[in-house]
């Protein structure tokens, strides 16, 4: 990435681990001030280790009050907001008939409502600025297709897909210089897979199994996703809004070969 992020201000939710951590690190490396927002207490420690003047913020993305506070923090500490990356997310896999309501509610609340609140509060701050704004929402390939044991996750991420398009249209229609796009990863080797790994003999067995579903032959690593996020946040992507960017090693490209021997 050659685009400069020098002096830009970003909030990355879920910034203490996984895709969020990698994104926060790459943005800071490119010159961005990052607010590492996470429900995890490690956020401050992570922010202090970054290349630029960055800070941690304890954010529960389901709390409207927390979102208002983090926007106030961005304004008071750095003077505004240029970039929001909504990475915070959770996932449960369940047999559909036995799926507990609290799993459903938690996923809708963190993955979808959290993203909604982020977009809404970010626009308020971004539109006041003369600089262009960019929002990137992390959806999933499960936000484009379903899965028999991830109905709740898939529904929450499908919501993010469509929310993103509406936000993009809204900002464009209002004449705000704010773009909004979604990213749709396949499996990414992060802490989010930890609970699933517990039910396998080893993490590697799980990853190998997942890799067989990905034509390219491996699961994604966080930098596969963060490089696309940086592109979408940069001025190079100035004409891209409402786009769903799939990063899946070809998983959704089509039907696996099984028609010839």
């Amino acid at each position: 990435m050659t685009a400069s992020f020098s002096g830009k201000i970003a909030i990355v939710t879920g910034g203490a681990s996984g895709i969020g951590f990698e994104t926060a690190s790459q943005l800071a490396k490119a010159g961005c001030h990052v607010i590492v927002a996470d429900i995890n207490n490690k956020a401050t420690e992570v922010a202090e280790a970054l290349d630029t003047d960055s800070i941690g913020f304890k954010l529960d993305v389901t709390s409207e009050e927390n979102w208002i506070d983090v926007m106030t923090c961005a304004k008071e500490t750095f003077g505004g907001l240029d970039i929001l990356v909504n990475c915070a997310g959770i996932g449960f896999a369940d047999n559909f008939e036995d799926m507990p309501l609290d799993h459903w509610n938690a996923m809708i609340s963190v993955n979808l409502t959290g993203t909604f609140l982020g977009c809404q509060k970010a626009i308020k701050l971004m539109k006041a600025s003369a600089n262009p704004g960019a929002i990137v929402n992390i959806s999933s390939i499960a936000g484009l297709v379903g899965g028999e044991d991830i109905a709740g996750y898939s529904a929450s991420k499908g919501g993010v897909t469509m929310l993103t398009k509406s936000v993009a249209l809204y900002c464009a229609g209002k004449g705000y210089d704010i773009r909004c796009n979604s990213i749709h990863p396949t499996y990414v080797d992060t802490e989010m897979l930890d609970p699933i790994a517990d039910s396998f003999d080893s993490r590697q067995v799980m990853l190998d199994g997942m890799a067989t579903q990905v034509p390219i032959g491996r699961v994604a690593v966080p930098s596969d996703i963060s490089s696309a996020i940086l592109f979408l946040c940069s001025s190079e992507a100035g004409m891209i809004t409402g786009h769903q960017m799939v990063i899946d090693g070809g998983q959704l490209a089509g039907i696996p070969a099984q028609h010839t021997v």
């Binding site: 990435m1 050659t2 490396k29 490119a30 398009k165 993009a168 249209l169 464009a172 229609g173 004449g175 773009r179 396949t186 990905v214 034509p215 390219i216 032959g217 994604a220 690593v221 596969d224 490089s227 696309a228 592109f231 190079e236 992507a237 100035g238 004409m239 891209i240 809004t241 409402g242 786009h243 960017m245 799939v246 990063i247 899946d248 090693g249 070809g250 959704l252 490209a253 089509g254 039907i255 696996p256 070969a257």
Partner: protein, 264 residues
């Protein structure tokens, strides 16, 4: 990141239709970011001139001819020892407006499928093996927003670009499951200011007997971001897909349209 960092440094890139418009813009970015760049075009004079300007090699090419694809890919492999990036950009919009499904002639239909469709198939067909030999590569096929939304007034063009989209996915899967490390993605520009689009405006204005500016405004009103795309908007998208930054991306469709598809 140091200023010397170049995103496609040392890669060998072939861009078809590189003499003007999107192709020239893409080739220019590739060269600037360190790629050894080869452009081809059916227009000899403009191609030579463009290649000199950006520091690329030029070869004349009718992209619908199979033997020429074989010659060009072999030449690049023999001369540079590798082929890393292919941008199948060459294409035509056809006779333009008025080519609705009822009035389009079979000859017109076939001409467009041949130049927009056959060319991409041939390009992928002959690039894959050379890319595989070099340990992988990235093919970027220029489709269009017309592959995703209905285009009643340029029927053949839309169908040809939809074929490119579908071909892209099959090529991506084939390359991935055969372990070639070759990625294949399609880019879908909306309304980008190029000679092709300007001629569409002029033709539309002529047809409805209205000033060109008025016709242009009509097109503009359909773009939520409120402005036409620039060549660089596409060039940067292609550059990203060509670079190792996109190493996990294959079979994808990349829409660069200022939100136009959202209204479609």
């Amino acid at each position: 990141m140091s200023e010397a960092y170049q995103r496609v440094k040392g890669k060998v890139a072939l861009i078809t239709g590189g003499a003007s418009g999107l192709g020239l813009g893409i080739a220019s970015r590739m060269a600037q970011e360190g790629a050894i760049t080869v452009i081809t075009d059916i227009n000899d004079d403009k191609g030579q001139q463009a290649a000199e300007e950006i520091g690329a090699e030029f070869m004349t090419q009718d992209v619908s001819r199979e033997d020429r694809w074989q010659e060009i890919t072999r030449h690049i492999y023999e001369k540079y020892g590798r082929l890393d990036v292919l941008v199948n950009n060459a294409g035509i919009s056809g006779d333009g407006l008025g080519t609705d499904p009822e009035t389009t002639s079979l000859a017109e239909w076939q001409k467009i499928q041949k130049i927009n469709g056959d060319s991409v198939f041939l390009g992928c067909k002959y690039a894959i093996d050379y890319m595989r030999k070099g340990g992988g590569g990235s093919i970027i096929n220029m489709s269009s927003i017309a592959a995703l939304v209905a285009t009643p007034f340029i029927t053949s063009y839309g169908a040809s670009k939809a074929a490119v989209r579908q071909l892209t996915m099959s090529v991506a899967l084939h390359c991935a499951v055969t372990g070639s490390k070759v990625r294949c993605n399609s880019v879908h520009p909306g309304q980008i200011i190029t000679p092709m689009l300007e001629s569409l405006f002029a033709e539309a204005a002529n047809k409805v007997n209205a000033p060109v500016d008025q016709v242009k405004q009509g097109f503009l009103d359909k773009i939520p971001l409120g402005e036409f795309g620039e060549v660089d908007d596409i060039a940067y998208m292609v550059l990203f897909l060509a670079s190792d930054e996109a190493k996990h991306i294959t079979g994808g469709q990349f829409v660069v349209d200022g939100g136009m598809q959202l209204n479609g």
